[in-house]
Amino acid sequence: MRKTLALLVMIAAAAACGPDEAGTPEMLRLMAHDSFAGSVNEETFAAFTDATGIEVEIIAAGDAGSMVNQAALSKDNPLADVLFGVDDTFLSRALDEEIFVEHVSPALEGVGDEFIPETALVTPIDYGDVCINYDKSWFADAGTPVPIELDQLREPGYAGALTVEHPATSSPGLAFVLATIDEYGEGAWLEFWSDLESGGVGVVPDWDTAYYSDFTQYGGDSPMVVSYASSPPAEVIFATEPIDEAPTGVVEAGCYRQIEYAGILAGTDYPEAAGQLIDFMLSVEFQETVPLTWFVFPVNESAELPPEFVENITIPADPARLDPATIAENRDRWIDEWVAVMER
């Protein structure tokens, strides 16, 4: 009996020690949405592994919404140590579910104030602007001026030339709707959409369909689609034959700024190492790989942008942004109201 008891005490003691929290793990798991997970290669985290001896395993978790849901459903026994890729539109949901623990990165000093959130639960990593893209040769051939403000889109000629993504199934689609809410305010944004609807605006479920099926650039009927400010440089980098100038451009009105954050998942055994990984993601070294890997901008002001990225880029002067809490409070209603206007 006594022997058994002694054994139990030993087991309990061993269990209490568990993973060595002060020590470093061999591997950290980084959960990310597919578009990030798909663009990471072995070299992305090589410098981190060299410096710390910790390998980074990437776990792909669908789109951003699906990822936040997966993190929320697994918060008692997390799937990963760090989550990356939650943006303003999904941030409140993640915070409500209390899936993160706080981390204040020393590297935040190099990050502009406009990117730093009110909470220490998440750390900004990159940002990108959702903007209308236009087909340069279509506008040149038609002799139509490229619109410079949102109001012009109300005219049937322009409205019928635009395709947007559905805000309920697409993240750039939602971002563009938010840009119109920011521009016109609660009272008037639906009138704008009502005009677009009568003008024959196209609505498709996702970015792929808008860009590769509807855009005149790819054989569709729409010379304008909602895409990203970084799409024109991507057109140059991923062209079939080498080209110098992007065939597409960015309409500077109606842009919406999305910031992507990373956070340490509550319940990780290695909060310290997880913090190191986030610090690494803010380092100049990592931040400089951001533009050409997944076509967003680094938040670290010291990071230099690669020349092929800068040449064709338009950075909108004053992109729209809404407070995450406001978005969380109203998103469902806004989408419902939008649907009511667009699907009648």
Binding site: D208, Y212, F238
Partner: protein
């Protein structure tokens, strides 16, 4: 009292545990979690939900009927006649099955087929026609031609023989194919999103919207239950029907088919070529657009962002081999249990096996996250992907083999037993030779399902290894004419690979017992 047959019980236990742990348990966990927070004030949403449910149902019924009709000529031709290219033609029809929805959607849109119910129905026929051709064809080719000839000799017209002899014999396979097509179209997601425009939504689309975009897990769970009830009711009706209408005609081994002659000389090529041309239109659009630039050369080059695109082929093949081995083993065990068992328990067992086909991918994906963390954390494991694929493929193996197994007269097995054969030997020497063809059809389906699967696995947390459909979607999710052409080129290669593999599986025999 009957003695308990332990051997039988252990054969039943494997599929029961597999389905139980990887399907029923995660499903129950996620639904109870969702419903525990449910306080539906269905204020005003009932009308919309009713409208969605109604649309989901009627488009699925119509899609199923259209698929059956569209498949009929080709099924008849390839199962009744021998001609050059017959096997190739049968392999070609499975191509749509592996093409990612987004790619086919792009082809349909390029043809101007979109924003209409017609486009949705056409796409459903395009994707599912192989199910009917292969499932029904497998049985039709084994119906003894003497029955047909006897009818003709006795003076019945061709049509009358078909209606009174052939059709009743084919009913189990037609019902099986119809059930599968119905489940696929009832839970249609990508096709409806891309081709339906903003006006059409199925329950599956609404579940995604509620769960993923609006974070309303309770309402999503409630909708998933509505969907499950619809699926279960259909399956129940189907299994009742199948029990009542199964005949145990002695099927022949797949014999020599005659060469077409007389009217068939014209009708066979018209049926086959007509079907293939109709199916080829979207694929040709794809192929033409993949020829821009050096898209094919790009597939073997290291891309700075996504790696070497073609390397995804080996990931796909690995998953597909594992998934089809699991599906065939478990599917055959399950099929023999379903065939031998009579009564309620067996019927519900059969029905549960089919349910993964008709269950929302979001629900199952999130169910995995909630349920499979303990005792072994499988949630981000390599194995979860082939397991998820096998869940969808098992019903195919069961549905293709059960009609054949049921057609074996009980007396044949009993005779063998009386002669002293063990149950294992009875199965090996009687069931297996007869069922092997049908099992290979099931295996081919399992393989192509795994090769083409994208929707379900995108809701599973998984290692970042890309399969071909995942790579195609990755390429399509970044701008650039090169990315676009490469994505389509990879889709064309996936299609070509599918044809080669299906042809190869069709040639496989279980040793020498495939024919007798």
């Amino acid at each position: 009292m009957k003695p308990i047959r332990w051997g039988h019980l252990s054969v039943a236990a494997v599929p029961a545990l597999f389905i139980g742990y990887f399907f029923v348990y995660p499903l129950v966990r996620i639904l109870t979690l969702g419903l525990s927070e449910l306080n539906i004030g269905f204020d005003g949403v009932e009308a919309r939900l009713f409208q969605i449910g109604w649309f989901t149902l009627w488009q699925a019924v119509l899609s199923t009927v259209l698929t059956l009709l569209a498949a009929a000529p080709m099924t008849w031709a390839v199962s009744q006649y021998e001609f050059r290219g017959r096997k190739l033609a049968t392999a070609l029809v499975t191509v749509p099955f592996v093409l990612p929805t987004v790619v086919v959607g792009a082809a349909f849109v390029a043809l101007g087929w979109r924003d209409s119910i017609g486009a949705i129905l056409a796409a459903h026929v395009f994707f599912n026609i192989a199910v009917v051709i292969r499932t029904v064809g497998a049985l039709w080719s084994r119906i003894d031609p003497d029955l047909h000839d006897a009818g003709r000799v006795l003076g019945a017209s061709e049509w009358k023989v078909f209606r009174t002899v052939t059709l009743p014999l084919l009913r189990p396979a037609i019902a099986a194919a119809a059930a599968i097509v119905f489940l696929f179209t009832f839970t249609s997601f990508g096709v409806v999103l891309i081709l339906g425009g903003v006006r059409y939504a199925t329950l599956e689309v609404e579940i995604y919207r509620q769960a993923v975009t609006l974070f309303d897990l309770p309402l999503a769970a409630a909708l998933a239950i509505v969907q499950l009830v619809g699926v279960t009711a259909t399956l129940y009706a189907y299994s009742r029907y199948q029990e009542r209408h199964t005949s145990t005609w002695a099927l022949r081994a797949e014999g020599d088919r005659p060469k077409p002659e007389g009217r068939a000389l014209l009708l066979v090529p018209v049926s086959v070529i007509g079907t293939l041309i109709a199916l080829a239109i979207p694929v040709i659009v794809l192929f033409a657009r993949s020829l821009r630039g050096a898209a094919y050369a790009g597939l073997v080059r290291e891309d700075p962002v996504v790696g070497t695109p073609l390397s995804s082929a080996s990931n796909s093949l690995r998953f597909a081999v594992i998934a089809s081995v699991i599906a065939v083993l478990i599917g055959l065990m399950a099929a023999s249990v379903v065939t031998e068992g009579k009564g309620t328990l067996s019927r519900w067992f059969d029905l549960t096996l089919m349910l993964p086909l008709g269950t929302s991918a979001v629900t199952i994906g999130f169910g995995f996250i909630v349920a499979l963390g303990e005792p072994v954390d499988l949630r981000a494991s390599f194995w979860l992907i082939p397991i998820a694929h096998a869940l969808v493929a098992i019903p195919f193996v069961v549905r293709t083999t059960v009609p054949t197994l049921r057609s074996i007269p009980a007396e044949t097995r009993e005779a063998a037993r009386v002669l002293g054969a063990s149950p294992g030997r009875v199965w090996r020497e009687i069931d297996l030779p007869i069922v092997s063809r049908a099992a290979l059809v099931g295996a081919a389906f399992a393989f192509v399902i795994s090769l083409g699967e994208f929707g379900a696995t995108s809701f599973i947390a998984r290692p970042a290894t890309a399969t071909m459909p995942v790579m195609i979607v990755r390429l399509l999710s970044r701008p650039g004419a090169g990315s676009f052409a490469m994505a389509l080129a990879l889709a064309v290669i996936l299609a070509a690979m599918t044809v080669v593999i299906v042809l190869w599986i069709d040639r496989l025999q279980f040793g020498e017992i495939g024919t007798f």
